[in-house]
Symmetry: C2
DNA sequence: AGACAATTATTGTCCGACAACCGGAGTGTG
DNA sequence: CACACTCCGGTTGTCGGACAATAATTGTCT
């Protein structure tokens, strides 16, 4: 018996948006690069209107920016933007950590960390990056609020966009994992203030690290 | 000299989306009501593709929900959704209040409150509601983070949607204003914990009030 | 009544068209 | 040479129409 849910029920627009999203995350398209409707339509073999709809959803996600009458370009993030993203993440994740340090079930966080550690050990960059982001998202998820998680996902996506344009390898994956493990331990020990301080320290360090790499690119 | 920025540079799509948004906030369209592309196109005198684009932006804002192959309906908020919205606002506004109680410039907050009080005194519901929402947004704005403000705006819009379907009049506008004034005073006094407690109390009360009215509608 | 077929309404996607608009290349003028 | 103006090609914004795919509804048969 075939799993009927497995058949592709997505719309063409969704698939085009998905393909573009992958290209953006993979760094195939550099920030500032214009996305021409006709060439994309020809490239994907779809109608221009379909491409327009796909671009609209991506612009809703902030991955591309629409300039009226001039088209759509891959969103360029300034140093200021990156600072904002990390500050916003700090707000959301702090709330999550507070929940985590005061009773919420930490299983998903631990699971993400385990995957992260494993991938870092095996030097699998793709999986490691994914698990790393998943770890942070799972912090927000501790609040059990789908809207906040959605907001965090948008921030994460924007960040991935910035990272895609620079070198991806993290030299210090080990120490990174240790950082996250420390945070989880503090949450488990039920010490909110220490856990929050650790989160803030970690995010600030990450912010400067990302900023350096972006401006240096 | 004419203000050149005053000339209308908006696209047809923007205007259609704006018109629909107004209708949604005004309660002209009830939650669950389907929005047919052809009738809207005829009604506005625009092409169907233009209506589709407008609906896409609204669905990005969460005001309408798209069901594949079945169209778009005005988003219906469950009791659970309303709880989530208020919880999410609590997270964002708490961060703002914390900033406000520790140094940020409270002028915009005070300005919104003044407008609110004035409108409540004059029994101007429309202005009062707007100023009230502005007050809460200005709390988030204390963080100086455009992304968080944008997130708060989306939450506010969703809430307006829920409120549009029920009676809008607030019988106790005076005590509402007093509530907000108290919060501002606490922030000014530089007492974060008390201010945060007051915010939480206020939002929780508002949540049950809104929930009651929505489920009772 | 319930399973099944036929009908209809609506969306999803495509195509082609054209005006409006933008940026740049060329042109003229002081 | 600097500046303003005009023209032009490429692109977007919007339109109208078309048709297949899908879902909802109605009608039919057992």
């Amino acid at each position: 018996m075939v799993d009927l849910r497995a058949i592709d029920r997505s719309s063409t627009t969704d698939r085009v948006a998905g393909a573009l999203r992958e290209m953006l995350f993979a760094g195939d398209l550099s920030p500032g690069e214009p996305l021409r409707e006709v060439s994309l339509a020809e490239g994907f073999g779809v109608a221009r209107s379909t491409v327009r709809e796909a671009l609209q959803v991506l612009s809703g996600e902030g991955l591309v920016t629409r300039y009226p009458n001039r088209g759509v370009v891959v969103t360029e993030l300034s140093e200021h933007d990156i600072g904002e993203i990390f500050e916003a993440r700090l707000v959301l994740e702090s709330a999550g950590v507070r929940a985590g340090a005061t009773g919420a079930d930490l299983t998903p966080v631990a699971a993400a960390l385990a995957t992260y550690a494993e991938a870092a050990q095996a030097d699998d960059q793709v999986v490691a990056t994914h698990a790393h982001l998943e770890f942070h998202t799972s912090l927000v998820a501790l609040l059990g609020n789908a809207r906040l998680v959605a907001g965090a996902d948008v921030l994460t996506a924007d960040l991935r966009l910035a990272l895609a344009s620079v070198e991806r390898a993290r030299r210090n994956a080990r120490s990174q994992v240790a950082d996250h493990r420390r945070l989880l331990t503090l949450m488990r020990s039920g010490d909110p203030d220490s856990a929050l301080a650790e989160l803030e320290r970690h995010l600030r360090a990450a912010a400067v690290s990302v900023t350096e790499r972006v401006v240096g690119a």
